[in-house]
Symmetry: C2
Subunit: 456 residues, 2 copies
């Protein structure tokens, strides 16, 4: 008798064609000129879910729409699985660094190259196909399923929490499955035990009312670019620690077994250096790279702009300067508290004649998983069935701000099963998703439903 | 009998129309897409000089052409005056801050608004009209005149020194007159006694080989934007002094009478603050604003760019970062020595995993005038005749790199007579030139030839 996995293998060529179509939609949520595309991506998800057999609705929000698909055929007494993913993508800039255009998927060397291939359209797509395979072959699923696909993850999900709160009954689930992260290494499936939080800011510095000649005014008039650079530099001390007063007060030291698990993972500094093109020497003195990524906060300039940046030497004293600075947070830090501390830091590091404005772009709390229980075991079994090896537990330096909200609002156990590989360029040019992970990912998620059912 | 000044008054409406045409040519030397426009501006100057009665030639250079016009009718025994100006302009960006388009001159409130109105097309134009007035009315000038108009001043005049050296016999002069600076205040004509030099750099920081996700890599991978910000901030100490080792070794303290003259000038801090839109609190502790501008070096970020600077929160760890940083120099500093010191500073402030590259964009030496002698007195008399008040001696924070070269190569006494007013936005949006200065400027330069002749 044909199994859902057989169906997925048989239909694989179609799956690739469909994914190609999905990735061609430039659903860049950060850029309002793509609002139509983002809407199209939502409709694409709706159509896929409907064809698979779910009942689907697109909900407008003040930003980009939310797609909700439901299959309730397991009955009111059966558990419910919530699948969460996002159909929006990061801006593709700088375009000139892409080897093939970001929205023209290219299959080469066992990888699908496109913006969103890994983050998160490609991974959301795995779930759509797992559901389709079950419903196509068996006409049913062993659990009730709700799919929640949003279009604002890359801009901090500003409308998702209100939406989840408003629809908490409809979205209620025992387990929420999210595939928006990475495996630790090729062939080594992983389950996430932690996520860092995020506090993302813009700092604006304004000085003179207009750009001035840097010769005629330089030395007499305060330069907001000089001042901003000084302020941003003051966020770190010599040892790479974040030099904002009180910043480490809420940083929890993980249990020794967690640290031991991290130390047991194979980390090849040379391979890492080759992957990123530089050393793994960022961050705080006294920690290993994986400890820095998974257990310690960080602070990065994500963008900075002031004055003349074109060809040649323009002698301008700029009127203003802007930096995008974000901090990754670990338990028990909160973005609100970090914002308050940063505000105090800026007030204490003022610069005569320059005004600083701090804009909070978005924040997400850090998350720590309960790593036991049947849903975690079901995921481990499903991964082992498709990859042939038991998963390792890993942390994730990035943020999925909604994870904690799902826990708190819906009471659901988050299950973070990522299929991207390290170096997938998820927020960079030449983003890719391995075809092996694409194929095994669909099979893992097909198995997951059976494992979740058998673990009841 | 009609005098050249009467001619200039009579022909004033035409002069305004002609200036309008000159300012409409977007001769932006820094931007190669304007090469055709820059060429057109050179031809415009040539045509004007030819019509006035000079013999003119356009010389190609590896960059933009040099225009040389000659009138040798005073005979080989008469002195020669070299007039230097530039027909190229600063880039007009940011365009959205212009009240009227930069290359559509607008006459309002007694000012001509356009890119280049003050720097330097408008001031070069004064010279063309003074020559025309003399030749139209008297058919001759009391001295030989050579006009040298270049098109690369705003990009550091890379080809001018070789040109001046090659043509030193043709350009030889007792006096070189340059109008590319400002008066100290409206109604207060000024003669320049000093110019600051310039050392302009780009600093490039490179880290990872591609942009990375700031969550997935932040804290493990060195961030070149963090590193660059830290490096640039290290260029100043807490007191606003430039913290590059050895930087002040060559800084000469001006004679007490110079400092006394500066202190005697009316400087209204409130008026200045209103003009620039912020305080006059830039620069080093312990100096007045005019001392900082005219007698002390400065260091300004002219531009900085890294990562994502568009709308929204892109969580990128950028692969590279770039800052344009320039230093204004005073006697006896030299751009080469400053570049060497900065290079040492960068080497001493390295950042593991980030490579810094220092690019010297251009340099110009500072200049100090001999403020006595007949040519200086002639200029003072000419200014007093047209403005009705004796000029004050002022410094200039900006740089005109060619001034020292004229002295050294040609043996000419530089005479810097500027007619722009403070706040003319010479390198900023809404550049303007006062019509009063335009009209009195032409008359001053007409008188200057007579005064120079009578002072022989």
């Amino acid at each position: 008798m044909e199994q859902p996995v057989d169906f997925a293998r048989r239909e694989r060529p179609r799956f690739y064609r469909e994914l190609d179509g999905f990735l061609r939609i430039p659903s860049v949520s950060a850029n309002s000129k793509h609002d139509g595309d983002t809407r199209r991506a939502a409709e694409w998800v709706r159509d896929q879910l409907q064809r698979a057999g779910l009942v689907v609705e697109i909900f407008p929000t003040p930003g980009h729409p939310v797609v909700v698909g439901e299959w309730r055929g397991a009955g009111p007494k059966a558990p419910t699985v919530l699948v969460y993913g996002h159909y929006d993508v990061q801006p593709p800039e700088p375009l000139e660094l892409w080897e093939t255009p970001p929205f023209e998927p290219s299959l080469r060397d066992g990888r699908i190259y496109a913006r969103g291939a890994a983050d998160d359209k490609g991974q959301l797509f795995l779930h759509l196909k797992a559901l389709e395979a079950h419903l196509a072959i068996r006409g049913r699923l062993p659990v009730n399923v709700v799919v929640l696909a949003e279009g604002e993850e890359e801009v901090g999900s500003p409308n998702l929490v209100p939406f989840v709160k408003e629809h908490r009954d409809r979205l209620a689930a025992e387990t929420v499955v999210i595939s928006d992260s990475s495996m630790f290494a090729p062939g080594l499936p992983s389950l996430l035990f932690s996520l860092r939080g995020l506090a993302y800011f813009e700092i604006h510095a304004t000085g003179p009312s207009t750009d001035l000649h840097s010769g005629a005014y330089g030395g007499a008039v305060p330069n907001p670019a000089n001042a901003l650079v000084r302020l941003v530099a003051s966020l770190h001390d010599e040892g790479g620690r974040i030099a904002v007063n009180g910043f480490y007060d809420d940083v929890a030291v993980p249990p020794e077994e967690t640290l031991a698990g991290i130390r047991a993972l194979p980390f090849d500094a040379e391979e890492y250096a080759e992957e990123v093109g530089t050393t793994a020497s960022g961050g705080e003195d006294g920690y290993t790279p994986l400890e820095r990524l998974w257990t310690r906060p960080s602070c990065d300039v994500n963008g900075i702009l002031s004055g003349y940046t074109g060809e040649g030497a323009k002698t301008v004293l700029p009127a203003s300067a802007m930096a995008k600075v974000s901090m990754r947070l670990v338990p028990d830090q909160s973005p609100d508290r970090v914002a308050a501390l940063l505000r105090e830091h800026i007030d204490a590091n003022g610069h005569d004649g320059v005004d600083f404005e701090l804009v909070e772009l978005h924040g997400g709390r850090p998350w720590l998983a309960p790593v036991d229980g049947p849903h975690f075991e079901a995921a481990a079994s499903a991964l082992e069935r498709s990859f042939g090896v038991a998963p390792v537990l890993t942390g994730e330096g990035g943020s999925i701000p909604i994870v904690m909200e799902f826990e708190e609002i819906l009471g659901a156990n988050p299950l973070l099963i990522g299929f991207a590989l390290p170096g997938a360029n998820m927020h960079a040019p030449n983003e890719w998703f391995a075809t092996e992970c694409f194929e095994k990912g669909i099979e893992t998620l097909i198995h997951l439903y059976d494992e979740l059912a058998s673990g009841q």
